[in-house]
């Protein structure tokens, strides 16, 4: 048995942290939130693709590193609330790798090397990201339908779209996407609703597509859990640093037991998320039978835990915690975003229950 990262994994973690601290520290996220017309830092995405990060979920022969490495990178991205559709890009590349045919291969290669942005367009219901049968249709070389909450869809070079006939690839039409912004409170994640009536290529039959989408949901949930784990870790660091400095009544407020116990509770939530997320990543990597169960356990834990930790970070900073200038709100917003996507907490709780050993025996 071994839990802690091995040498290669630790190196991946430290080099990713260094890279992101240098290139994508929180100011990047702020600039996306506040001004960037591009919506996400394309230069950094190009750099990440060049270093092989975009294809992390590919098979080993295609340059992938597996779910544990993916979780490590996702966690580091969480620490800086990394802007842009990195998770969705990784999932789209993985989906394309599961489809046969030249179109899939071509777009997979372009997305992995950073020359094209491809994201998954799956959700159709404004009120749910839980798995559902797609209403969009593929017929006669065209996709017709509506997709919502497509991350950075306005800038995508192609969309991988779930349809009743299977996964389809829709290249950006010459006239651009028929997209309308869906502006959430996380301004560093830009979503659009897309009306599709465009030329498309069918990538896989319904059965294969369903399998691939189930797998993408699991990996998406794992990636979201891992990001939340990094967000919790960073939020707690911020809270502990602030309460150790800030003085009231002549002492650092972090010496008050009420605040210490709050921070201890935050640590319990955050460390438990780490245990559950890496256990799920390990299960995915080793092909364990209970991987789907353990991923749902991790995500069902990380969402509420993350809300608690990020909410308390704001509380512990007091008034400044409620200002735009200080950082905790960026994490609160991101963690809520992550909780809402790749299956809601409610869905993952139910999915954990369905797959639980105690129910199998009943």
């Amino acid at each position: 048995m071994q839990f802690e990262l091995n040498e290669d994994q630790a190196l991946l973690q430290s080099s990713t942290r260094e890279l992101l601290d240098n290139e994508a520290a929180l100011e990047q996220t702020r600039s996306v939130m506040e001004e960037s017309s591009e919506g996400y830092p394309k230069d950094i995405y190009a750099q990440l693709a060049e270093l092989g990060y975009a294809g992390l979920l590919l098979s080993e022969e295609d340059g992938g590193l597996g779910p544990i490495a993916f979780a490590i990178v996702m966690s580091e991205m969480g620490r800086v609330a990394f802007p842009g559709p990195f998770l969705e890009l990784s999932l789209a590349i993985r989906l394309l790798s599961g489809c046969s045919g030249e179109v899939a291969q071509d777009w997979q290669a372009r997305a992995a090397e950073g020359s094209a942005l491809v994201v998954l367009a799956r959700d159709e219901d404004l009120a749910s990201t839980d798995p559902a049968a797609p209403q969009a249709h593929f017929a006669d070389g065209r996709v017709q339908g509506s997709k919502v909450f497509v991350p950075f869809g306005a800038e995508a070079d192609a969309l991988v779209v779930s349809t009743a006939e299977g996964l389809a690839l829709v290249p950006r039409p010459g006239t651009g996407w028929n997209a309308a912004p869906l502006t959430t409170f996380d301004h560093a994640q830009r979503f659009v609703a897309v009306e599709l009536d465009d030329e498309a290529h069918l990538l896989a039959e319904p059965e294969t597509s369903a399998t691939l989408l189930t797998e993408a949901l699991r990996l998406g949930a794992l990636g979201a859990s891992a990001q939340m784990m990094g967000i919790m870790e960073r939020s707690l660091e911020i809270a502990v640093a602030y309460t150790s400095e800030r003085e009231a009544f002549g002492v650092p407020i972090g010496s008050f037991q009420a605040l210490q116990h709050r921070c201890a509770d935050m640590l319990i939530q955050a460390e438990s998320a780490r245990s559950a997320t890496f256990r799920a990543a390990w299960a995915e990597e080793s092909g364990a039978e209970d991987a789907a169960y353990l991923v749902s356990v991790a995500k069902a834990w990380a969402g509420p835990a993350g809300r608690f930790v990020c909410g308390q970070a704001i509380q512990l900073l007091g008034g400044v915690g409620f200002t735009w200038e200080y950082d905790p709100h960026i994490y609160l917003k991101r963690i809520k975003t992550l909780e809402q996507f790749h299956g809601s907490t409610t869905w993952h709780v139910e999915n954990a229950l369905v797959n639980a050993p105690v129910l199998a025996d009943a």
Partner: protein
Amino acid sequence: MDLQFSAEQLEFQQEVRDWIARELPRPFADEVRDPAHDADSLVEVRRGWQRKLNDAGYLGMRWATEWGGRGATEVEEAILHAELNRADAPIVPNFLGISLLGPALIHHGSEEQRRRFIPKMLSADEIWCQGFSEPSSGSDLASLRTRAEPDGDDFRITGQKVWTTFGPWADWIFVLARTDPDDRHGGISFFLVPIDQEGVEMRPLKQITGESEFGEVFFDGALARREHLVGQLGEGWRIAMTVLGYERGASTLANPADYERQLGGLVSALKERGELEHAAVREKLGKLVVDNEVMRANGLRTLANIAAGIAPGPESSIEKIFWSEYHQRMTDAAVELLGPQGMLEARSPNARTEVDWAYQYLWSRAGTIYSGSSEIQRNIIAKRVLRMPTAR
């Protein structure tokens, strides 16, 4: 990263599972429900079970064979404890002697002490209780005031100990007593004291469960022989702190196994009542499943780190808070879901038989108090893990 058991460990798990299936007559909950039993005869059930475990070599597993152990690893010990809980096996009456005193004697005791005490501790011919806490010294244990004064070559002990688990049935007590009033930590020594003597009075204390599983002990010049001092004079605090950290692996998988069994009981009760498909029920049950599985993830992580020889981190305080507060949440939810029937005591007509919910509900209140209260555990996390500032 590797969170699965090795082939040998899986083999050991199967061996233990088979052994329990063969040797355990019935779950302990069934013993408790049996009207033929009283508190004393239940202790005898536990004593008998301890003897079986001892004969099979499942006690003090990590100790050297010389001392009745088998030189097993922490992982194997954790597997054993998880399997015992899965089957609702009785808790052995000497669990405190074996987990605390045994390691103290092996690491700090004399050869004579080991030969005199360990075999009878393992065979349950002598039952031990722990004399650490006092009425005014719980969380602040080092403030203890029970004193041991020289009397010729020996010592006389005067003072009071409390929350003495298994005290009402114990033959011996291991006691932390003050031998130097001016040295807070260095003035504490570790003594082995027979209970059946003048100068020792054991009084059972009735708990909120109605039973008297613990007691209080009054020492009035009780005799502690020089040869029953463990380690040197003034080493008691260090020995106690060392042994308290010794068993950190055993519980890692045992608690989630115990609670999973209880959850299984809840599931079958709800199924029988036709309520398993209700959305509100499923949400509650699902959250309990998730939290228990997260607890197991924490446990696997701790165990893996122990196996890799990584120094203990924040895990043990996190684990303690997690399981004790979880058990309260879980029994709260279970009793609520089962309605008034969930409050029926084990021997009441119509009580549910899968789990003694009434007892578990009450017993869960103890976990956040004993072995370092949740408040003390949070202090430890804030100070030692988060390094938050100390109050001036």
